[in-house]
Amino acid sequence: MDMSKDLVAASATPLVLAILAEGDSYGYAIIKRVIELSGGHIQWTDGMLYPVLHRLERQGHVAAKWSAAENGRRRKYYRITKTGRKLLAAQREQWHVVDGALRGIWMRARTT
C-alpha cells in the first residue's frame, strides 16, 4: 500500500511527537519505531525525518542534545518539551475526530 504524500507529511508530526513522548530517541530509532508501529505500511524517505525534527526543535516542541552513543560516535538525541506535549494532545484530538468521522461513514457503508 502506497500512502499519499500529503497524508505521510501530515501524520509525521504527531507520530514523531508520540514516539518521543514514550522516551527520548534519535533519528534512526524513530524511523524504525514508525515502521514497527505501522506494520511496515508507513515508510518514510529516511532523510525527510530530519527536517521535520529540526522544524519541531526550532518551534520549541522538541529539544535536542548531542551525546555519545554506545559506539563512540556522537548522536543527536531528541526529547519532547512541554509545548510539544501540548501540541501532541491537540493533534491527538484532531486525529481522533478525523478517525471517528471516517469510521462512522465506513461502518454505515458496510451495513447498508
Binding site: Y26, G27, Y28, T45, D46, G47, M48, Y50, P51, V52, H54, R55, E57, R58, Q59, G60, A63, A64, W66, A69, N71, R73, R74, R75, K76
Partner: protein, 455 residues
Amino acid sequence: MTTFTDRPLEEQISQWRTYVRRRQVLHGPDVEELEGHLREQLAALTESGLAGDEAFLVAVKRMGSLDALSREFALAHSERLWKQLVTSPDAAEESAKTSHTETLIVLGLAIAAAIAIKVPTLFGLRLDGAEMFYARNISLFVLPLLTIYFLWKRGAGVGRGLMLALPFVAGAVLANIFPFQKRSDTEVLAVLHLPIALWLAVGFAYVRNRWFSSPGRMDFVRYSGELAIYYVLIALGGGVFTAFTMMMFMAIGINAQWLAGDWLIPCGAMGAVIVGSWLVEAKQSVIENMAPVLTRLFTPLFTILLLVFLATMVWTGSPINVEREVLIGFDLLLVLIVGLVLYAASARDPQAPPDFFDGLQLLLVVSALVVDGVALAAIAARISEFGFTPNRVAALGENLILLINLAWSAWLYARFLRQRGSFASLEQWQIAYLPVYPIWAALVVIVFPPLFGYR
C-alpha cells in the same frame, strides 16, 4: 553505527559525505546527523546479509533525493535559505525568463519614482520653496511604487493591491489636509513618522501571505536592513557622480548646480529606493548579508559606550540635559540597540547553544535599559514641570515602547543564557513586537495633529 572494517565501504561513505557537504543548506552537524543515520542503516543491512556496496546503494536510496532533502532543510531553516537560495532546476529556468521582464519593470518603476518627485514642480511647488510640502510627502513619491514592485514580484492579485493602496491614500490625504501651523512640532512629527507607518504597507506586500508567520516577518527585517546598506552605498556612488558632473561642467564655465540640486539628487534619491530593493532581492542568495556583520562589529563597541557613559554619569553626577535634540538622540540610540538585537537574532542559528556573544548582547540590552530608564525619568520630570507638548509625548511613547521591548528581551536572553529557554522564543518576541512600531507611528501621524491643535 560503527566504523566499518570494509575499506571500500568507508570510502564510499566519505565520498557521500563530501557530496552532501556541498549543499550549502546542510550544515556540519546536519551532515553528521545524516551520516550517523546512514551508518546505522548500513550496519543493519550488512548484518542481514547484504554485501557492503549493495547495502550502501539501498541505504542511500532510502535516504532520499538530496535535492528534495535540501529543499526540506531550507524550509525548516529559512535563515539559511536567505543565504543560499535553493531552487529546483525548473525554478532556475523560470527565473531566467522572468529576470528580463523584472529588469524592465524595475527600471520603469525607478523612472516613475524619479518623475513623481518632479510632478509637483509643474504646479509651482519648487524644491527650494515648498520644503515642508516635500518633507511631508517624501515617502508617498516612492513607497507606493515600491509596494507595486513587491505586489508584482510576489504575484499578488488586484484586490490585495487595492487594499494596500488604502494606507497610502490615507497618508496622502492626512499629510496634506491637516491645517498645520507654520513650522509646528506636530508637522515635524508627522514628517518623521509617516514613512515608518507606511513601511508596514510595504511589509505586507513584501511578505505576501506570510505576515503571520515569523519567517516571513524576519525576511522583511533582513530585507529592510540590507536595503539601508545598499541605499547608503548607492548614495555614496551618487555623490561621486554628482561631484564629477559639477566639476566637468565647471571646467567649461557652466554652473551645473541647478542640475544637481533639482534633478540628480532628488530623482536619484527616489529611484535608488527601487533599485536598491531590487538588488537586495536579486542578491539575497548570492552574498553574505551585511547587516549581521555590522551587528557583530558594533555590538561590543556600543556595549562599551553605554557602560562608560553610565559610569561617567554616576561619577560626575550630571543629569541628562532635556533638550529636544537630546531626547531624540536618546530615542535613536534605543532604536539602534533594538536594531542590533533584532539583526543579531535574524542571523543567529536559533539552535546553537549560548555563547560569549549572547552574554555581550544581554549586557548591551541591560545597559540600554538603564539608560532608557534615566532618559524616561528626565522626560517625565520635564512633562510634570512644563506640561505636555507633542514632542515630549511622542518621545515618551517611543521610549515606553522600546523599554517594554528591551525589558522582555533582557528577560528572555537571561533565560536563554541559563539554558531555561530557547533562543527561538527571543526571536519570536522580537518578531511579534514589530508591528507595534508602525502602529505607534501611524498614531502620531493621525491623532497627534488634531489632539495638539496643529501646534
